[in-house]
């Protein structure tokens, strides 16, 4: 019986409706690019489904609204728990010209006042989130949960629309500035001269980092230093409850987590729903406070940032003095706007993905508990092995359903996917280079070029390096390699280690204060690791393709980031 059922869903499983099916998808779009930035490690069914459906909607929405002349958005499919993207390249010259007319009008408000537009959209998102939080998910009726499933999807859809409107409009200025500095001065965005102009911006991410540092100072003032120093994050929570001072500190801490506009609605893992958010498990942010205390007062985030900001203004002034007189205004405008691209690229995660994913986890886990109680699935978090349509079918009368034959099989497949890396490109073109040339570059898509796929490394044979990437933040570093695939393993990172990872995301930001250098497998000059590397002044090399497979934990490695060169010393 069970086997018969499996056959029926064979062509329709994993992420039903969004599974990559070679015969169908490759016939429609010739090249599919693996999005390692968002799907290493592999993604769950629930997450893959939501991402494929709504992230791709957001891209198509923004490309339509902004009338991006050469790209109509992306298609997204899931294969072996990995995310694959294909771009809707506009190839008809007349159509490109027609789209360009509207593009010029649609881009203008963003160029004129990016900050106000983004502030307005932030408010819109926060008001959507507050509404979602009004539902007491633990005591909701099945019908309320049924509706909540749709409310969450609606919120996710809107989040992606806003996300990409702001991202497309701001990244274009970065791309233009880079093109012009390359042409005029031979400076690319991998050069320190360029990167120094794009650092030291204040935004929500740093405000929250600073808050964690202040809570560390408060703990020291309240004589709680030892509680943090001597215990692991999980037991710090219990220890704090044993003293009045401890309780007082924890109450202040949780007040911030609950009352700040972002606060504890922040996922530990960036792109999936299967790890807790800060409010759900305060051990994560408590761990950050602990790290700050261990580093002591000599570690002054403010001073570092002020220094970088000062350096930025000097770099901008030096650059502008080289620009031709009649183009100074243009370059200055471009530099300011590109700085916003860099800053937005970092800050938006807090208001977009990290927040809404936390709310999705909260809502879907509640549905998971409802299904698990009635035996429809094994455990509450097996809900992440279902998709919203399947939840729709069973949530009203969970006691009558058994979904375990689906969740168990998908879970096994998902676990298996962790062992098998996905290939970088699936294409019916002659080679990867041809796929990039014909199906990626003509899209002119700033996001694909600068974040997801990134420029390919250009080895310099005379340097005889063992591995090549592109420069995220220049500088030299030598240290012990620490290969980290999952967030949980981040705690093993020792001060001065060279972090080697598939990629980083905003939840990894604090570790940049600790490490001597960062090497990633994926990403471009506007990916998270590159931006944070620059903000923290940590030598960073991105897009090595094979850092985590070539470098082993414990090996000594040397980085010459400006040249994208990595040396494995033993």
């Amino acid at each position: 019986m069970s086997e018969k059922k499996q056959q029926k869903v064979k062509i329709w499983d994993g992420t039903p409706g969004y599974d990559f099916i070679k015969e169908i998808d490759l016939a429609e779009m010739p090249s599919w690019f693996h999005d390692g930035t968002h799907s290493i490690p592999p993604v769950t069914t629930m997450f893959g489904y939501q991402w494929a459906r709504f992230c791709s909607h957001g891209l198509k929405f923004a490309c339509t609204e902004l009338s991006i002349p050469t790209c109509k958005g992306w298609e997204i499919r899931i294969l072996n728990s990995g995310i694959y993207c294909a771009l809707h390249v506009v190839r008809d010259q007349k159509e490109i010209a027609e789209r360009e007319v509207k593009f010029r009008q649609a881009l203008r408000p963003w160029i004129e006042d990016f900050d106000s537009l983004w502030a307005g959209y932030k408010q819109e998102l926060l008001s959507i989130y507050i509404k979602l939080l009004e539902l007491d998910v633990d005591n909701a009726t099945n019908l309320q949960l049924y509706y909540h499933n749709y409310d969450l999807m609606r919120a996710y859809m809107r989040m992606w629309e806003i996300h990409f409107m702001a991202m497309y409009s701001s990244f274009n200025t970065w791309l233009l500035l880079e093109t012009m500095t390359k042409e005029r001065f031979g400076i690319s965005d991998q050069d320190p001269e360029f990167q120094d102009m794009m650092r030291g911006f204040n935004n929500k991410v740093y405000q929250m980092d600073k808050k964690m540092w202040e809570f560390g100072q408060l703990a020291i003032e309240m004589n709680l230093e030892d509680v943090f120093k001597k215990n692991k994050p999980q037991s710090i929570l219990a220890k704090l409850q044993q003293s009045e001072k401890g309780k007082e500190w924890f109450k202040k801490f949780m007040d911030y987590m609950k009352t700040d506009d972002v606060g504890g609605w922040r996922m530990r893992r960036f792109t999936d729903l299967n790890e807790p958010y800060w409010l759900e498990d305060p051990a994560t942010p408590i761990g950050l406070v602990k790290d700050n205390i261990i580093r002591g007062i000599s570690y002054d985030l403010e001073a570092t940032r002020a220094e970088i900001a000062k350096k930025r203004e000097a770099a901008i002034a030096a650059f502008l003095s080289r620009a031709p007189q009649e183009e100074k205004d243009l370059f200055e405008g471009l530099i300011r706007l590109s700085g916003k691209a860099s800053s937005y690229s970092e800050e938006h995660d807090l208001y977009c993905e990290l927040f809404v994913h936390a709310l999705m986890r909260r809502g879907y886990l509640a549905m998971g508990r409802r299904l698990a109680e009635k035996g429809a699935i094994d455990t509450p978090d097996d809900i992440f092995m279902l998709n919203p349509d399947e939840i729709d079918r069973v949530i009203m009368v969970p006691e009558s359903h058994d979904m375990r034959w689906i969740t168990r099989r998908r879970k096994a497949a998902w676990k298996e996917a962790h062992k098998n890396p996905n290939s970088p490109v699936i294409t019916n073109r002659a080679s990867i280079e041809e796929a990039v040339r014909l199906d990626l570059l003509p899209s002119g898509d700033a996001i694909a070029l600068k974040i997801i796929v990134g420029e390919m490394p250009q080895p310099k044979p005379e340097l005889k390096a063992d591995l090549w990437g592109i420069c995220g933040c220049s500088g030299e570093a030598e240290g012990t390699a620490r290969v980290v695939i999952m967030y949980d393993d981040l705690k093993k990172v020792q001060p001065g280690d060279i972090l080697v990872c598939p990629n980083t995301n905003p939840t990894w930001t604090p570790v940049f204060g600790l490490v001597g250098g960062v090497i990633t497998d994926a990403g471009g000059t506007l990916c998270h690791a590159a931006i944070i590397g620059r903000e923290y002044g940590v030598p960073t090399i991105v897009n090595t393709q094979q850092g985590t497979s070539k470098i082993k934990t414990g090996q000594r490695v040397r980085m010459d980031a400006a040249n994208g060169a990595i040396y494995i010393l033993e």
Partner: protein
Amino acid sequence: MSSGKLIFRFEELGQEHNNLVGKKCANLGEMVRMGLPVPPGFAISIAVYRKFAAETGWAEETSHYVSSLGELKGQNVAIFDELSQNIQSTIEDKEVPEDIKRMVGSYYEELCNKVVIPNVAVSVRSSGTESRPGMFETYLNVIGIEDVVDKIRKVWGSAYTSRAIAFRVNKDIPIVGDELGVAVSKMVNARSAGIAFTVNPVTGDTSKIIIDANWGLGEGVVSGAENVDRFVVDKEAFAILDTYVGKKAKQVITRKRGAYWDDVPLEKQSIPCMSNDEIVAVAKLAMLLEERLGEPQDIEWAIDPESTPPNNVFVLQTRPAKVAAKKPESVTDRMIDLIAKRFYSP
């Protein structure tokens, strides 16, 4: 000017001869009169073109063909390409009459003797009575009488490039038009060359001189395709106010015959292609021209590696500078325009 004379040395000419030899030649003559460093050469008058067109039957043939086409305004641009091709190919069949060849030959020989170089390399440029920058063809590093005559014929034919035809059609000028004089000058095998504006062509600012320069021949700047050096010089004190060194990846240089785009050696790409003394020398020449000709000028100049400073800067031509009448764009407009053009244009 004695009637019947058809070819003139530059020193025989002045601005008053515009209708006789075209603007470029008349200006070259005027500059020689002013004592400015102009490469020696001679002007083929427009009458020579008329003689050629009449005697070979090309004038009649062309006007016959054009009148058979009817109204062209508003038609697809492809028609201009076709028209251009048809007309220019017929001129290739027309042998230049012997007496014209002989006349040109004697002036060319005179030039060779004057500069003491047998078969001296020359440039062959169009010289119409109206200034139409970029409309007609120029031939560089032309060597020997056969080639000079051939290139003169090609310049005449270039009155029918598709851009020139389209321009005339759109401006309601008869298609059969633009009878051209030709300037034949000794080639300056420039080390560096470029243009100088005595007015900012974008903003209209008349207080400074703007110099754009590249290694090699001036065509490496004029075509606007390359990233070049730019110097801004104050008109009062001749102080260099702004130096912008472009990354000059390509230059135009001469080979055995003709001129070609070539790579600039790596070590020369990011250094200025002229010294401060040379910048000031070009600026002073430009100012002199503006003062003498009474209006802002757009000048082509070249630095001759075979001459010694300060006499190594030559003026190749000058014309009144055109200032874009556009109102100044905002930075936002420029950004949008650049983004659209750079990344998303067909």
